[in-house]
């Protein structure tokens, strides 16, 4: 065999080995958390309040808190995110102004999550006086989620072929009619996938909710938007660093629940994408 083919073989083998190294940590993480945490999972663990300084009982308030926060984030982030994506992909020309917007979005995506937490504390909690509340936390998480939603939605809108828009124009339709009845429905699966991926990031973050929502220990369900709440990621942080003598099983059980919430959201996103991609006419 020719020497250069040997080189190619070796190169490809090395590259696939590297790809394997990327997958390995994910498998190991999931395996460890499932093995150590599955013993803690029970109906009682999922549906009761924690007691005895969180060392016993369930994690219901943290689960409900995460769901409420994710929902609040969705309500705040989806209209703004999808709206700006439509503007950027359908209306905006390449001017200095839209470049500034794009730069801002890229930057928003790169900011460390603690800085979002600080921002939320400064603006929502202190300046606007929402206090440490679900409202402040949802808005902070929404701002963090925006770049993901905007960039994926814009990508999905751009993937719709230009011919669709041209045909609408040739039929006498306005630009908005084209977007509303043709482009948006076509891009919807991509947009939904982006939204779920963004919300998933919000659901798993600790740092932005650290100062804006989180209650260290609050064994009741939230009453209003201005109430504090526990949330899964912060609860996990608390019970693994701040509480001495915490049973390991509860820590890994909580981690398992968080992992399941995030992974099932991810699965739904993948299924939606696969389902619509098969039916796409182009």
């Amino acid at each position: 065999m020719n020497a250069r083919f040997v080189v190619q073989r070796v190169g490809f083998a090395l590259l696939s080995l590297i790809a394997l190294v990327v997958v390995l940590p994910i498998l190991v993480i999931v395996a460890i958390i499932v093995v150590r945490g599955v013993g803690a999972i029970s109906w009682e663990f999922l549906t009761t309040m924690p007691h005895d300084g969180m060392k016993a009982g369930g994690i219901l308030p943290a689960i409900v808190g995460t769901i409420v926060l994710t929902f609040g984030t969705a309500v705040a982030a989806i209209p703004v995110g999808v709206g700006s994506a439509i503007y950027l992909s359908e209306y905006a020309r390449d001017t200095l102004f839209t470049r500034a917007i794009r730069l801002a979005i890229v930057n928003l995506a790169g900011i460390p999550s603690v800085v979002y937490g600080l921002f939320g504390l400064g603006l929502f909690v202190l300046f606007l006086q929402f206090g440490t509340s679900i409202l402040a936390g949802s808005l902070t998480l929404a701002i963090m989620t925006l770049p993901v939603i905007i960039s994926t939605s814009e990508e999905a809108l751009r993937a719709v072929p230009t011919e669709y828009r041209t045909v609408i124009a040739s039929l006498g339709g306005t630009r908005w009619q084209g977007i509303r009845y043709v482009v948006l429905p076509q891009a919807l699966p991509g947009i939904i996938t982006g939204i779920i991926l963004g919300l998933l990031r919000a659901a798993g973050e600790t740092a932005p909710i650290l100062f804006t929502v989180s209650a260290f220990f609050l064994p009741r369900l939230p009453h209003s938007l201005f109430d504090r709440t526990m949330a899964l990621p912060y609860h996990l942080y608390v019970i693994s660093t701040q509480v001495p003598g915490m049973p390991q099983e509860i820590q890994y059980g909580t981690a398992l629940v968080l992992l399941m919430v995030v992974l099932s959201m991810n699965l739904v996103a993948t299924l939606i994408r696969g389902h619509f991609r098969r039916r796409r006419p182009w």
């Binding site: 470049r99 794009r102 730069l103 890229v106 790169g110 460390p112 603690v114 800085v115 937490g117 600080l118």
Partner: protein
Amino acid sequence: MMVTGNAARMPLTPDSLFRPVRTMTATIAAEMGEVAQGSLHFHALFGIGIILFVLTFLINLAAARSIFQKRRRGGLR
């Protein structure tokens, strides 16, 4: 934050690879909870936040510039 040990020391020697350190992000997260609002300490933590923001901003700016330049030359897409 959980795995670096979160200890305020300067990692200047080679054996620091095996010693605990503390990052800017961890400092904010750890101390903001127990600081008096409006105190010097409180503002110092926001100062760390600004430094982090400026750093990421500059890096992103550099990345965005190179992408814009490529696009203009017809490199990307």
